[in-house]
Every structure is written in structure tokens, then in C-alpha cells.
């Protein structure tokens, strides 16, 4: 006999296509578009140079796979993205922790961080290239800069938003300061932290494309720009699709980890 505390009567947007009939309806348009596209291309009604048919894209993909190069490119991309994400995100987390836990740190550091955040991080690409050359380092730093801020902000806010009421409970239970941090602040901040991780990851993927487009010798971004220069539209599409899949995959993994960690949360 378990009583449920609260009922949420919000209308939720379907996360993906949903189940049953609702789910099926969602597939109508994508499939229709793909089929029409393929037919129009086969009938030469559209310029396949500009609008490669789905089958052409698939062929491109296979060709790239067999060539062996694709794996290299994917490796390069993954390497840069994750290294940048861990460096930037990790720093964001640590500094966010400091600023969140200590008011002094907040006063000294926060406004400076906020000022740097104002700079659209893509615009510093040239500077990074100037300082670190065209190689991996500049790209990784660019991604790191982008990944820094969401994690910083969410960690900071997460800590500051810990319910004051629970803090009073730790007072009456006689928690030491260390215990307050490890047993209240840390667990309470995790939901916000996960949000920060997802955003940071999203920005990491986003920045990577641009970073690679601006001069590199491998990676998906380079592949796409190279294909563009050769008017190989199909390969560009392959790049876009692969990108999307990877971005979504990593996001889903984070969500899955969140579900594991946050079984107790009322909103998840």
C-alpha cells in the first residue's frame, strides 16, 4: 500500500516518437520524405548533385567505411571532442565547486568568469590558432573553452540552490562542515550537474565541427569541408548524419547514467 505524494498533471512533450499509434504517426513524414526524395532522384527530377538520394548517401557511407579513412576521421573527432570536454568541463566543475562553496571565491572570480563567458567562443578561434598552431591543441582548447561554462554555471547554481531547509536539518543533526558538503551539498547538486554535463557535451560537439572546419587534416569536420570543396554532397550528408548520431548517442548515455544515479528524484 504505497501512497503517492504528488501527482504531476503537466502535459509532457513526447521524448521521441512515443508508443503505439502516436509513435507511428511520427514516422509518416520522415519516411514519406525519404521515399519521395529517392523517387525524384531516380527519375532525375532533381539534381542529384545538390540533393543526393538516400541510397547515394548510403553508398557514400559504405565507400568511406571500406576506404578505412572513415575510422581515422571518427577517431580524430572523438579524441578531440572528449579531451576538450573533459578538460573544459572538468575545470568548470572544479571552479564551480570552489565558487559555490566559498563566498570569497565567488566575489573574486565570478564576475571575471561571467565576462569571459560573454565572448562567443567561436570568435577566439583565430587567437587559439595563433597561439597554439593549426594542430590538435588549438581545437581541443576551443572545445574546452566552450565546455567550461555550462558546467561552471550549473555546478555553481546547483550548490547555491540547495534548500535552506535541508541545511537546517544538518544543523540539528550536528553535521560537521565536511559532512554538510559530502552528505548534503554534493548529492543535492547532482541533478543540476547532469544538466550541465549534457549542455557542455552539446557545446563540445557543436564547437568541434567549426574547429575542424578551420584547418585540420582529419576528423569529420575536415571530411565535410573537403567534400564540400569537391561538391561531393553525399559525403557532406554522411558527415552530418554521423555527427547527429554521435551527439545523440553521447547525450543518451548521459541520460541513462542520470537515471541510474537519480532513482530518488521526483522529476526524473
Amino acid at each position: 500500500m504505497r501512497a503517492v505524494v504528488s501527482e504531476k498533471n503537466n502535459i509532457k512533450l513526447p521524448t521521441f516518437f512515443g508508443k503505439g499509434l502516436k509513435g507511428a504517426i511520427g514516422w509518416i513524414i520522415p519516411i514519406a520524405v525519404l521515399v519521395t526524395w529517392q523517387i525524384l532522384g531516380d527519375l532525375k527530377l532533381i539534381k542529384t548533385l545538390i540533393f543526393p538520394t538516400p541510397l547515394m548517401i548510403w553508398d557514400s557511407f559504405l565507400w568511406l567505411c571500406q576506404n578505412g579513412d572513415l575510422l581515422d576521421h571518427i577517431n580524430g573527432t572523438f579524441f578531440r571532442t572528449f579531451l576538450g570536454f573533459f578538460i573544459g568541463g572538468g575545470l568548470g566543475l572544479i571552479i564551480g565547486l570552489f565558487v559555490g562553496l566559498s563566498k570569497i571565491c565567488e566575489i573574486l572570480l565570478n564576475s571575471t568568469v561571467q565576462m569571459i563567458r560573454m565572448i562567443p567562443h567561436i570568435s577566439v578561434t583565430f587567437l587559439f590558432v595563433l597561439w597554439l598552431g593549426i594542430g590538435d591543441a588549438s581545437k581541443i582548447m576551443l572545445i574546452a573553452k566552450g565546455s567550461f561554462f555550462p558546467l561552471y554555471i550549473f555546478t555553481f547554481l546547483g550548490i547555491r540552490n540547495v534548500d535552506n531547509k535541508l541545511f537546517e536539518v544538518t544543523k540539528i543533526l550536528g553535521y560537521s562542515r565536511l559532512k554538510v558538503v559530502t552528505r548534503l551539498i554534493l548529492p543535492a547538486t547532482i541533478p543540476q550537474l547532469v544538466l550541465g554535463i549534457r549542455q557542455s557535451l552539446g557545446i563540445a560537439w557543436g564547437s568541434l565541427v567549426v574547429a575542424e572546419m578551420m584547418g585540420s587534416s582529419n576528423g569529420l569536420g575536415y571530411l565535410m569541408m573537403d567534400a564540400r570543396a569537391m561538391s561531393d554532397t553525399a559525403t557532406v550528408f554522411v558527415g552530418i548524419i554521423l555527427f547527429t548520431i554521435f551527439a545523440k548517442l553521447t547525450d543518451s548515455i548521459v541520460l541513462w547514467i542520470e537515471k541510474l544515479l537519480l532513482r530518488w528524484n521526483t522529476t526524473s
Binding site: A3, V5, K165, V169, K171, I172, L173, W264, N265, T266
Partner: protein, 259 residues
């Protein structure tokens, strides 16, 4: 045996805002002997919650002394158990872990005591549930168990059942009385419900607001279980209600009609 556990003398609390000074409590004198169950009742703004929080060490008094077992109160601690109006459980801990809080369930003494308390507050079977699966009454029971685990000298409850519906409230009052009579812990409970004040405990302190002072005190020596329908119950209830209405007349007269 009849030790004065809690002694409060000339306790005053002032709040200074930008416009003026508000006297929440004015020279309050009060004592509680060991094993007593005292209820504090009064209209809103009479300072009853402030009084409780000062005893708990969550706030500091402006002047006057508060002695718990002859020692002045320096701050919150496990010797003063506190139950808030909201359960305030840690959402990421199960029921048993919430009760144990920072103590380890692996310790056999802790484990034993937690199991006893779960039985006492009638939550057997829900040890591994998360707060989001509990109803308001159940969560409050966990909160009470948590406050009792550390064997406090005194248990302070700030309108613990205010957020619950009437039926649950009665049930919880039963549970609390059970706890009191089994454990013998000294208790001070703040409430705005006159029935609750008469059902629980053996002494009712009635506070008046602006400034907060003890207006009257009513002893309740009815035997347990107390029946609301009994005449003696109603007599005591009438006494308290009378005092209440006297206070409210004065309050209404001062404040005018604005609520």
C-alpha cells in the same frame, strides 16, 4: 526525578527591520521538568515558533537565559531533537538511511535502534522506500524517528502535523503519544490546534502576540486514552478556548479590521 530539564528566564527576542523594532518574545519565563509533554499554543505571530527555535539553538535570543540540564544553549545539536512542519527528508536516501542520517547502518547498535524506531512509528515494511513514495504522514513519521534516534534530552516539534488532513493528524497524535509513553522523552510541541493541545501532553502554555508573552497555563491531567467526547476533555478545551478568545479580542482591537 522531577528535575527541571529546561529553564528559561527573562527570554526576549527582538527583530530589527529598517522601519521599526518588533518584539517577538518579551521576558518569557518557563520551565519544563523531565518527562513532561508541554504544548505551546497561540494565534499567529505570538512567537511560539521563535521560542521553539531558540530552545533548539537555531536562533539566538536577544536577552535572557535558556538552560538545558543546567547548561546554556550554544547552538543546535543532537541533544535537542527537532521536528519541522515539513518532513525535510533527504530525497536521495531511503527511509532507514534518512533515520540513520550520518550514522552508519552497519553499526549493529544503530541498526537495532533504527529497527526499533521504525516499528515504533509504525513504518515496518517501508525501510527501503524513497521519500517520493511516501505520503505526508509517513514522511513526518520518518522525521520523528530521525529526531529520536540520537536519544535527545528534549524533543521539539514545530507544528508537525499542520500540513496533514484531520484523519492523518489524529493518527499521528496517537503515534506521538505512543512514542512519549514508551520512551519517556521530554517533549515540547507547538501547535495552533486547540484539540491537539488538549489531546497531547500534560501542560498547555498559551501565548499572546505583540509582544509575545505567556498569557496563561492550563494543566491537563486527564488519563489516557483521551476521548474528545468526554466532558472533562471539553471542560479543559473550553478553558483554553476562553483564553484564546480573550487574546484575540485584544489583538483585534489593536489591529483594527485588516487581516
Amino acid at each position: 526525578m522531577s528535575e527541571k530539564l529546561l529553564e528559561i528566564s527573562q527570554l526576549s527576542k527582538r527583530f530589527v527591520t529598517e522601519k521599526k523594532e518588533v518584539i517577538a518574545l518579551n521576558n518569557v519565563d518557563l520551565y519544563v521538568t523531565e518527562g513532561e509533554f508541554v504544548t505551546v499554543i497561540g494565534p499567529s505571530g505570538c512567537g511560539k515558533s521563535t521560542l521553539l527555535r531558540i530552545i533548539a539553538g537555531l536562533d539566538k535570543q536577544s536577552s535572557g537565559t535558556v538552560l538545558l540540564a543546567k547548561e546554556p544553549i550554544t547552538g543546535p545539536g543532537i541533544d535537542k531533537g527537532f521536528v519541522f512542519q515539513e518532513p525535510r527528508l533527504f530525497p536521495w536516501l531511503t527511509v532507514e538511511k534518512n533515520i540513520a542520517a550520518d550514522l552508519s547502518l552497519k553499526d549493529p547498535d544503530v541498526r537495532k535502534r533504527v529497527d526499533e524506531l521504525i516499528k515504533l512509528v509504525r513504518l515496518t515494511g517501508f525501510e527501503k522506500a524513497y521519500p517520493k513514495e511516501l505520503s505526508g504522514g509517513m514522511a513526518q513519521r520518518v522525521s520523528i524517528a530521525r529526531a529520536l534516534l540520537r536519544k535527545p534530552k528534549i524533543l521539539l516539534l514545530d507544528e508537525p502535523f499542520g500540513a496533514l488532513d484531520a484523519f492523518t493528524r489524529e493518527h499521528m497524535q496517537e503515534v506521538l503519544l505512543d512514542v512519549w509513553r514508551t520512551n519517556g522523552t521530554t517533549m515540547i510541541l507547538v501547535t495552533h490546534d486547540i484539540d491537539e493541545a488538549v489531546v497531547l501532553g500534560n501542560r498547555i502554555m498559551i501565548l499572546k502576540p505583540r509582544p509575545g508573552e505567556i498569557k496563561a497555563q492550563v494543566t491537563v491531567d486527564l488519563p489516557f486514552p483521551r476521548k474528545k467526547s468526554s466532558q472533562s476533555f471539553q471542560e479543559i478545551r473550553y478553558k483554553v478556548l476562553n483564553e484564546f478568545e480573550k487574546i484575540e479580542e485584544i489583538a483585534w482591537g489593536e489591529a483594527g479590521a485588516g487581516i
